[in-house]
Symmetry: C2
C-alpha cells in the first residue's frame, strides 16, 4: 500500500482521476501515454490497493440549501481510548457532521458541520453535540466564506519529492 510501488504513470493516473473522476478510460489512457487496457488494469489495481477509495460528485452545498457551515472544536472530559472511540462513533451517526478529526493540543476534536440554516445547527449543537456523553466544551465558528476547497492531495508536491529522492 506504499507510494514507493507506484511508478510515474500510476501517479499521473491518480492525479488525473482526482481532477476528473468521471473521465473515460480511453481519455485517461491517452493522457498518461499508454493504451486503454493496461490503463484500466492499473486503475483497478489502485482501487484494490485502497489508493483510490472511491469517486464522488462534488455537489454544491449552498445551491442545495445548505447555507451554514461550521467548525466545532470539541473538548472531552475523558481522553481514555474507550471514551474517544465512543465520541467518534457518535459522530458517525450525526449526518450534519461531515468530518471529525482527533487533534493534539488543547482541543480533542475538530468537526466540520453543515446545516440548512442556523436554527437547525443550533438545535443540533444544544440538543445533540453539547448534550452528548463526555463532552466538556464545544466552541463553534461559522464559516463566513470559503476561500479554497481543494479535494485530495497536491500532486505537485509529490512529484517534487519523487524527483528529489528517487
Amino acid at each position: 500500500m506504499s507510494a514507493s510501488k507506484l511508478d510515474p504513470i500510476d501517479r499521473m493516473i491518480l492525479a488525473e482521476l482526482q481532477a476528473d473522476g468521471r473521465m473515460t478510460n480511453v481519455e485517461l489512457a491517452k493522457r498518461v501515454g499508454i493504451s486503454a487496457p493496461p490503463c484500466l488494469r492499473r486503475v483497478r489495481t489502485l482501487e484494490e490497493q485502497g489508493l483510490i477509495r472511491g469517486y464522488h460528485a462534488d455537489v454544491n452545498a449552498r445551491a442545495l440549501g445548505f447555507e451554514v457551515q461550521v467548525f466545532a472544536m470539541v473538548g472531552l472530559l475523558s481522553q481514555a481510548e474507550a471514551d474517544l472511540s465512543a465520541f467518534e462513533a457518535q459522530c458517525q451517526g450525526w449526518s450534519l457532521v461531515r468530518e471529525c478529526h482527533m487533534l493534539n493540543g488543547e482541543v480533542d476534536f475538530v468537526l466540520k458541520c453543515v446545516a440548512p440554516d442556523l436554527s437547525t445547527f443550533q438545535t443540533f449543537l444544544t440538543e445533540e453535540l453539547t448534550a452528548a456523553e463526555n463532552v466538556a466544551s464545544v466552541k463553534t465558528s461559522l464559516v463566513i466564506r470559503g476561500a479554497k476547497d481543494e479535494p485530495g492531495v497536491p500532486f505537485d508536491v509529490l512529484e517534487a519529492r519523487m524527483n528529489a529522492a528517487p
Copy 2:
C-alpha cells in the same frame, strides 16, 4: 441555481453521484427509476447549473505518503477586505493548503493542510505561512487520527426538509 427547482429524481441523482461518481449512466437511470436518455440530460443540466461542480477520485493521502495533516488557525493584523482577499489569494498558491475558510470569532481563517512529513510542514509554517504579510498569529493542531471524512452533504437531512416543508 436554487434547490427549489429540483424534483425528487434530481435529488436522487445527486445523492447517487455523490456516493459513486463513476456510476454508469444506465445504472444511475435504473436506480432513480427513469430511462437512460432523460437521466443523462438531467445530469448535464445539473452540471451546467453548477449543482455538480465536478467529480473527483478520493485518493488515500496516507498511502500516497502524505503522513501529516494539520489544522491551522490564522489571525490577521488587518481584516480590511483587501487584506483578507490578499491572504486568500496567497492560500491559493500554497499547495499544502487544501482548504481555507474565513471564520467569525477570534480567529480569522482555518486552514486544512497536508504534508509528506512534519519537517516539510514546519518549513512551510515558518517560512511561508507565519512569514506571510499581515499574518499576526498561527496556531496549529496536528491530526492524530481521522474519525470521519464524508464528502459533500447529507441527503437524508435534505429529504427530511423537503418532506416537512414542500
